[in-house]
């Protein structure tokens, strides 16, 4: 019987009522009395020297309060990078300054040059048209390999080159890995591109700065996945505002997919300008601006080699990746191609030797940072593509080749520094093959052939690391932040609870799932539990939501805080029932004393905590509120297998996804419906990447795919009805809920399954095609067939 409440129940998402009835309160719904509006004048060239900037006409235009330029920010810090990577020689990465407004140079189309603050948005925009900028255009640095040539123009003059870092992992394994390649029976090589993507959350970014002169306090309302992180970065590194004078609020946020993790110039600007002008200052991104200013995702060019023995056992793996950083280092950009990517190169397999080389490169493009999956999709894509190619070259069934190399004993320490705690990769693979009716393929292929279509099938077996992360470990690896999570559980006198969490919900459904856990622990109705998040003024310092970490890390913090609450409540109950605390049990909202008929209700105990007339005041304080910070001891390792079947139209190259089965092991599942929704969304994004999406610049640095006319987003009719299963569960061994995280799996696992399927279809159609770079648009598939 499926449960109808608590952990394991598909409780309906309570937040959807306000989202679906238009009652959500997003940042743009906030309007502060007296607010002014800012419009950013952005560069329309990719690379250039600012020789002159005349703002005089704009300053006297109607409604204009002030025009800001880079000069106003000379004494102000730049936007910081949150992760320092150390290169192969042990030197720190090259870290350029990232000014709030351009100073002397523009480095990508969309780089903000000036900001006009006016009474109305239209006035600000009108005035911005009157600013004259004298820009001396410089050659744009676009191609990553060309950018590293000695005579290449430099994105940042003060750096020695366009190379941010040259990273080797694990450097000590390099020689041994190379030696294994010398001896290998077979080597499969693949060159591929993991194309640049635009995150495209439904809600564009918004920022409102507000300043209270009476208390000298600044408030920033912003579309963020992690308000505390923004407060820390902006307060400490950019504007020099102490945290107790700075409040950051991220109310309802309409999707982020990573792009709202980072600290952006517009946030710092609005906070700064509000204080300077003593007026609230609001910025609302247009969709066109989002294409030019939201951090973008992926953009790796990779050569991967896999060494195998005669039986197909993996002997060694070697990769060389060029990772595009864009023009500046976005907040977590440097960690994505390194620690979030290199550590996953073992996949689900026992490959004894792995060496990953990553060259991070500056170009005149929008900065690149984490996007749903962040590094793990890039790792999975290379690995699962090269395995498929190896299977074909060696004449081994691709399912069998994977099984032959699966890790089957746990814990398993990979040669790339992580230890998988649990998993059962054969189980998820079996389940995926069964759901997709793998064995019935030939009959379906024959049906397709009758319609003149080529059917193909592809699999993928993935692993990812979620629940980032042990703070001490990531600190050693260069993170400039801790990665714990926090929760305060506040019990009210009448027994209801409020959980103030450092996690942030922007579509994930925390407001529903988190109460399910608490309700189970106490035995009360979920409706008695409220979740508060998104405001640094009323939540404990937390690191926010990304990397599928909320239930694994934020949920664990909440459990720890609730355990403290329950322990204290038991002491109160023991006092009221005149029993020893260790004999008190809590079940179904009732405290009882083991072996007696004594019992007392949860609500009576909570009332006693706040009306402590009959209360052990000499032993414990009144009140019932506890905070916990949870710092995980390891990552969690969700894994699974995906099967995709496609039909390719050989006349046009058009690909139709006919079926897609996803079997994931997320450990324990709190709300199966929400998990299913997360997988659906992830699959849509992954299939979007594989089939449709792609961010394209021309050689001068102009963004060609700058709107939905040219940037193809997946629509419902591009997708099949998914078959999703999470019944294979190997609970995480090191967090209290045994959960692993599910937010990114779909986006990580689906692209290789789809590309494998299309290559299979073309091969079955008699075309000797071994790889096609994403997106597999009709034009590209057709070109590959010619």
């Amino acid at each position: 019987m499926p449960k109808d409440h608590g952990i394991g129940a598909s409780s309906k998402r309570r937040e959807d009522v306000r989202f679906l009835t238009g009652k959500g309160r997003y940042t743009d719904d906030i309007n502060i009395r007296g607010q002014a509006y800012v419009h950013f004048l952005r560069s329309d060239v990719a690379h250039g020297k600012i020789n002159g900037l005349d703002t005089s006409a704009a300053e006297s235009a109607p409604g204009v309060l002030r025009v800001f330029t880079g000069a106003d920010f000379e004494g102000v810090g730049g936007l910081p990078c949150g992760w320092q990577v150390t290169d192969r020689e042990g030197n720190p990465m090259q870290e350029p300054a990232h000014p709030v407004l351009a100073q002397g140079k523009v480095r990508h189309v969309g780089d903000p040059i000036a900001a006009v603050v006016a009474e109305t948005y239209e006035q600000a925009r009108d005035a911005a048209e009157q600013i004259t900028v004298d820009i001396e255009e410089l050659p744009a640095v676009m191609d990553m390999k060309a950018a590293l040539k000695p005579d290449a123009p430099k994105v940042h003059e003060d750096l020695t080159s366009n190379l941010c870092y040259d990273w080797g992992f694990v450097e000590e394994n390099r020689e041994a890995t190379n030696a294994a390649f010398e001896k290998a029976h077979h080597v499969t090589t693949l060159e591929l591109v993991n194309q640049r993507l635009v995150a495209n959350p439904m809600e564009p970014r918004v920022a409102i700065g507000d300043y209270a002169a009476h208390s000298d306090e600044s408030t920033l309302y912003t579309t963020s996945q992690n308000p505390h992180v923004i407060r820390l970065l902006m307060g400490a590194f950019v504007l020099g505002i102490p945290e107790h004078k700075l409040r950051v609020v991220a109310p309802d946020v309409g999707g982020g997919f990573g792009s709202k993790i980072f600290h952006y110039a517009e946030e710092a600007f609005c906070t700064f300008a509000a204080k300077a002008l003593k007026r609230p200052v609001k910025w609302v991104s247009s969709r066109s601006e989002a294409f030019l200013s939201d951090a973008q995702g992926r953009d790796h060019v990779t050569r991967i080699e896999l060494a195998l023995d005669a039986e197909g056992h993996f002997q060694a793996l070697r990769t060389e990746t060029y990772a595009n950083m864009g023009a500046y280092l976005s907040t977590f950009s440097t960690s994505v191609p390194t620690w979030l990517h290199g550590t996953l190169m073992a996949g689900n397999y026992r490959t004894p030797l792995i060496y990953v080389n990553v060259k991070a490169v500056f170009t005149n493009t929008v900065p690149v940072d984490a996007y749903r999956g962040a590094g793990r999709p890039e790792a999975t894509f290379q690995l699962e593509r090269v395995i498929d190619k190896a299977a074909r070259e060696m004449g081994i069934d691709p399912v069998e080749l994977r099984r032959r190399n699966f890790v089957t004993e746990f814990p398993y320490a990979t040669p790339v520094a992580v230890e998988y705690d649990t998993g059962d990769y054969n189980a998820t693979l079996d389940r995926a093959l069964e759901m997709a009716d793998w064995d019935g393929f030939e009959a379906r292929a024959a049906e397709s052939a009758k319609k003149g279509l080529w059917r193909g099938r592809g699999i993928n077996s993935y692993i990812e690391a979620c629940g980032i992360a042990p703070s001490q470990l990531v600190g050693q690896l260069g993170a400039r932040a801790g990665l714990y999570e926090s929760a305060t559980v506040r019990v009210n006198a009448t027994g209801g609870l409020v959980v103030m969490t450092g996690s942030h919900s922007h579509g994930q459904g925390h407001e529903t799932a988190f109460p399910q856990v608490i309700a189970d622990m106490i035995g009360i109705d979920e409706s008695q539990v409220e979740i508060v998040h998104g405001d640094t003024a009323n939540t404990p310092m937390g690191m926010g939501t990304y990397g599928s970490r909320s239930i694994a890390v934020g949920g664990s913090a909440m459990v720890r805080a609730a355990e403290k609450v329950i322990a204290k409540a038991k002491k109160i109950a023991a006092h009221l029932m005149e029993a020893a605390p260790e004999d008190v049990e809590l079940k179904d909202g009732q405290f009882s004393v083991a072996g007696t008929d004594k019992s007392i209700a949860w609500g009576d105990v909570t009332l006693a905590a706040y009306v402590p007339h009959n209360y052990p005041l000499d032993e414990i304080e009144p009140g019932l509120e506890e905070t916990a910070f949870y710092d995980p001891s390891n990552f969690t390792y969700p894994a699974g297998a995906y099967v995709c079947e496609v039909e390719v139209d050989p006349e046009t190259g058009k690909v139709r996804v006919d079926r897609f089965a996803a079997a994931d092991d997320f450990g324990n599942v709190v709300n199966p419906m929400i998990v299913e929704g997360q997988v659906h969304g992830g699959l849509a994004q992954g299939i979007g990447q594989a089939l449709l999406e792609g961010c394209t610049y021309d050689e001068t640095g102009q963004l060609l795919s700058a709107s939905y006319m040219d940037y193809a987003m997946p629509r419902a009719d591009d997708l099949p009805s998914f078959q999703v299963d999470h019944s294979c569960q190997t609970p995480c061994t090191h967090n209290p809920l045994g959960v692993k995280g599910c937010g990114e799996a779909g986006a990580i696992g689906s692209p290789p399954a789809l590309v494998n399927a299309v290559v299979d279809a073309l091969q079955r159609g008699g075309k000797d095609v071994t790889h096609i770079d994403m997106p597999l648009s009709p034009a590209r598939v057709w070109a590959a067939m010619q």
């Binding site: 939905y708 997106p775 009709p778 034009a779």
Partner: protein, 262 residues
């Protein structure tokens, strides 16, 4: 968007006089014009809406000719042309999404002459006439390359007339992002000739594929064009397809339209 004045005349005459104002421009469904204005790429001073001009709306059939008012929406054409001219109704039904079809108009589409617009292919293939407040322009004389037509400043498309073919079909191969045609082919079999209108493909905008027309006029079947090739010269090359690919698709889509014609 810059400030502008909106005029909502009730008759063609009123509209024509309103269009005489400086920087005045007709407004159909606004599906192209409004986004362009929002991006500040167009800045008309006066917009003259065709929305309230009843005389410019509706679909009627008389003998072999279908008459569509210039302010008729795609949604209306999809419904009302369905029995007499299913090829045209099918084309209209696949333009954009319901919101676009409920606002966008045939007059706006033809006047705009986007190189990837659907209606121009139908008008060329059906052979028909664009009727304006001032004159009648034969389909073959109307389109003058990308985004250019024979219309004069202030000239309003009041009615569009199509010669209803015996059989017709429109095949649209969608550009993955915009879902405008990457290549769209309208094939019309008339009693005396076959006409093939191709949109989306050429740098010169919509065109007639005359070799295919000749081949199909003697044998109306997909095989009739199997020996033909389309030159990639002058075809559009962009993010979504090379000139070679578009040339190839012209032939594939023509064949499919012939097979599907009804």
């Amino acid at each position: 968007m810059y400030d502008f004045e909106l005029v909502k005349p009730k008759s063609v005459d009123e509209a024509v006089s309103a269009l005489a104002a400086e920087d005045a421009q007709p407004l159909g469904g606004g599906q192209t014009l409004i986004p362009t204005m929002k991006q500040r790429l167009a800045a008309p001073a006066v917009l003259v809406s065709t929305h309230d001009i009843d005389g410019m709306k509706g679909v009627s059939t008389d003998g072999g000719v279908m008459t569509v008012g210039g302010a008729t929406t795609h949604g209306t054409v999809a419904k009302e042309a369905a029995s007499a001219f299913p090829g045209l109704a099918g084309l209209a039904a696949k333009i954009g999404d319901p919101a676009v079809r409920n606002r966008g108009t045939i007059g706006g589409s033809l006047a705009n002459n986007d190189p990837a617009a659907c209606y121009p292919a139908a008008l060329l293939a059906a052979g028909g006439t664009v009727v304006t407040n001032a004159r009648e322009i034969a389909a073959d004389d109307f389109f003058e390359g990308m985004f250019t037509t024979a219309l004069e400043e202030g000239e309003l498309i009041t009615v569009v007339k199509f010669n209803i073919p015996e059989k017709s079909n429109y095949q649209k191969f969608e550009q993955p992002a915009s879902r405008f045609p990457l290549v769209g082919v309208f094939v019309a079999k008339h009693s005396d000739e076959v006409r093939v209108g191709v949109t989306g493909a050429s740098e010169d905008g919509v065109f007639r594929w005359t070799e295919a027309e000749q081949a199909l006029s003697s044998n109306f079947s997909a095989e009739a064009i199997s020996g033909l090739t389309v030159s990639a010269d002058g075809m559009i090359g962009d993010l979504h397809g090379t000139p070679d690919y578009r040339a190839h698709l012209v032939k594939v889509m023509t064949g499919r339209a012939v097979s599907a014609a009804e």
